[in-house]
Subunit: 460 residues, 2 copies
Amino acid sequence: MKAKKIIVIGGVASGPAAVAEARRTDSEAEITIVEMGPDISYSACEMPLYVSGEIANSERLVRYPVDQFKEHFSSNVLTHHEAESIDVQKRVVTVRDLATQRVRDLSYDKLILATGSGAVVPEALQSSSRDVHILRSLQDARSVVDTLEARTIHHAVIVGSGFVSLDVVESLLHRGIRVTMLASEGRVLNGSLDGDMSTLVVDHLSQQGVSVRSERATSLDVAPDGSIRAVLTDVGEIIGCGFVLIAAGTRPLTELGIRAGLKTGKSGAYEVDSQLQTSAPGIWACGDCIEKKDAVTGKSIRAPLALNAFRSGRVAGRNAARSGKGRPSRLEPVVRATAISVCGLEVAHTGWSVEEARNVGLAAVGETIAHRSASSLANHHPLSVRLVADPSNGKLLGAQIIGVQGAAQRINIITALLRTGATVDDLYNVDFVYSPRLAPAHDAMMIAARTMQKRLIGKR
Amino acid sequence: MKAKKIIVIGGVASGPAAVAEARRTDSEAEITIVEMGPDISYSACEMPLYVSGEIANSERLVRYPVDQFKEHFSSNVLTHHEAESIDVQKRVVTVRDLATQRVRDLSYDKLILATGSGAVVPEALQSSSRDVHILRSLQDARSVVDTLEARTIHHAVIVGSGFVSLDVVESLLHRGIRVTMLASEGRVLNGSLDGDMSTLVVDHLSQQGVSVRSERATSLDVAPDGSIRAVLTDVGEIIGCGFVLIAAGTRPLTELGIRAGLKTGKSGAYEVDSQLQTSAPGIWACGDCIEKKDAVTGKSIRAPLALNAFRSGRVAGRNAARSGKGRPSRLEPVVRATAISVCGLEVAHTGWSVEEARNVGLAAVGETIAHRSASSLANHHPLSVRLVADPSNGKLLGAQIIGVQGAAQRINIITALLRTGATVDDLYNVDFVYSPRLAPAHDAMMIAARTMQKRLIGKR
């Protein structure tokens, strides 16, 4: 019997996970992974540690260098190759070698799309200046570091206020560079944090000397030698700077599949079933380029997170390779849960914010409380907890937690409960540990739950 | 209509909570709280901070001084009064004023027993030496501090290795006193930690210079002037010391109720229904002196923890005061979950250890893994996670987590899941946050869950 041909397109996180699981499932298959950039199998989430200079060598972000990956998974690796088109009927992918521009056809029995997501750069801000950057790939990170280390930069402008922006703020401050952040409506982590919690982060950034401005960047002033001079804004300001990062949003990279007729959802990501099969026979998809099912509401959502990339990669890899043998894997519904360290502040969220829930027509109310991380008699620091619940039945929809320490692990508690359809009462009833040096007699989450209970029974 | 008379016996944690809730429920009731010691409404869990000298004044552990308590809850407070007997038929409690030895009868309509638990001191170690202490009440703590501050103590012996012992080790080290701990079988936190996790704590104590010995104390050598000279052990050792703490276990204080015919369970604590009513009409009980229902197994257990004291106090207070009006409160089944800071190490547990589960006839297997608290490229420290599960169905029974930071909050995640009857798969599926500086791509609990999954499907 001829070995099955499996092609995986996309090499960062989900693609390599798919290769690994496909190899575990079928030791005979001929597996090829195709990646546009020079690297595969690296940790994009850790790039801020490299941009900051804490890690000197970008290779430390690579889990498997190409040669090791080939050997470890007995697979072919085509880096610097772009997949240009898919012939769904003939089961052929056309790829271009970006070094030679040579085009060739690769036939497949099973295809896995793991093309991820890409930066959205407004047209007016597109620039070939060596000082204007995005940060999606490891190559982007190397380019950023080259710029930062080529000469002394005093002031940087970051366009956008999401996770990448906040990561890079910390990296730039670490290098002693002053930062201005252009944040839509003066808000950060929109979609994760409601307004009051965003304000806590903005205040913290301001205390670190970051200038957070609510203007919109309208154009760039680039000198004839290609260096940046300034960012111009919608109120006519000219913000002089030596470095610009555009991190104004991401979108799923699905043009390849769309051209081949694959269905996408409202978010632009591929529609897949619970086994991660796309609308086309023989084609699976995984990672940032697919829609997942939200565990809280059952809605289709994008959830471009590392853990989802690994997990969905494994599901797609197994199902593509199994050929009807054994049980298919399924991707469990997901909860969007994130944490980020912002200049020494832990900022974490899970599930739905009030604003986001209302945007999709869900009834949602929020309550925010402040409490201590530990006993007032021991070392402690302030924690802010915001809960989001459905007022009709008390069901938890999400939470946001900010503090010097412990926010990330506390958010995991709510995530665990969200998966079970828990109510505010269920959160209140958790037997939170108490130890004066570690946790107060009544944990901040218990107090938040109690506050929400009172709100919901109309006692306030 | 005559105001209802409510008497609460026991003034530390559960009793004051019962008074507060009774007052909220019935603004007219005549409420009296009876306490043997001089203090009411204090935080016993914070006593180690006073013993260590971090808090100079014991009054800071008191939430409501007697006068404030009286005023705030419009209640009578009888400190230095011991309840000697209950006449269940006549609804009378006989109390003795410990200052005057005067005895008198107090009649009640509703009675709440919140007598807590007391230290078990082996007969051979009972002593009136000013250097030999227990640590249960705030008076005990003052007595300990008086001894520690009266003269220079170089070496202390702690008999026992439970929570109080570990708390006091840290307090004594903080004062520069060398410590020997006599730990049954060389183990600490028996009942909470399985052997391998106990070893991690013992190793840490040893690194701090604490001598942990598995001998048993058989007698005390007390000088004619009442000062301690040495602790003698079952292998004939003579351990010279200037201070001894006996913290060899606790038992529920239920003699009062037993003499009045109230039913107790196997543990010696009062049997109560979910509304916390005892077997006698008109008598409720709460706190450390009652049995609770375990949320994991449905078994009756003791769970002498502060949060249970507050919660059960509120339930008993409301139900005793409501007189058929409104809905009765119920005490939810509980999960035993604890955390303690041991000389900079967080040690946390929830639910059942393997040994404890097997002791009551439950099938249980354990798996322990070691992982990092954060990305290997960022600051991180080791974490050890032990999961306990029912091998027949993968249901989680408990967990133990030890690490420099984050163990206490991580254990809350498992506690939240234990309340839902979750399996190891449910734990694995939690969307743990990932952020290089805060949490690794695969959280230690996810790796522990994966390891247990493999064990349970016999792949190892």
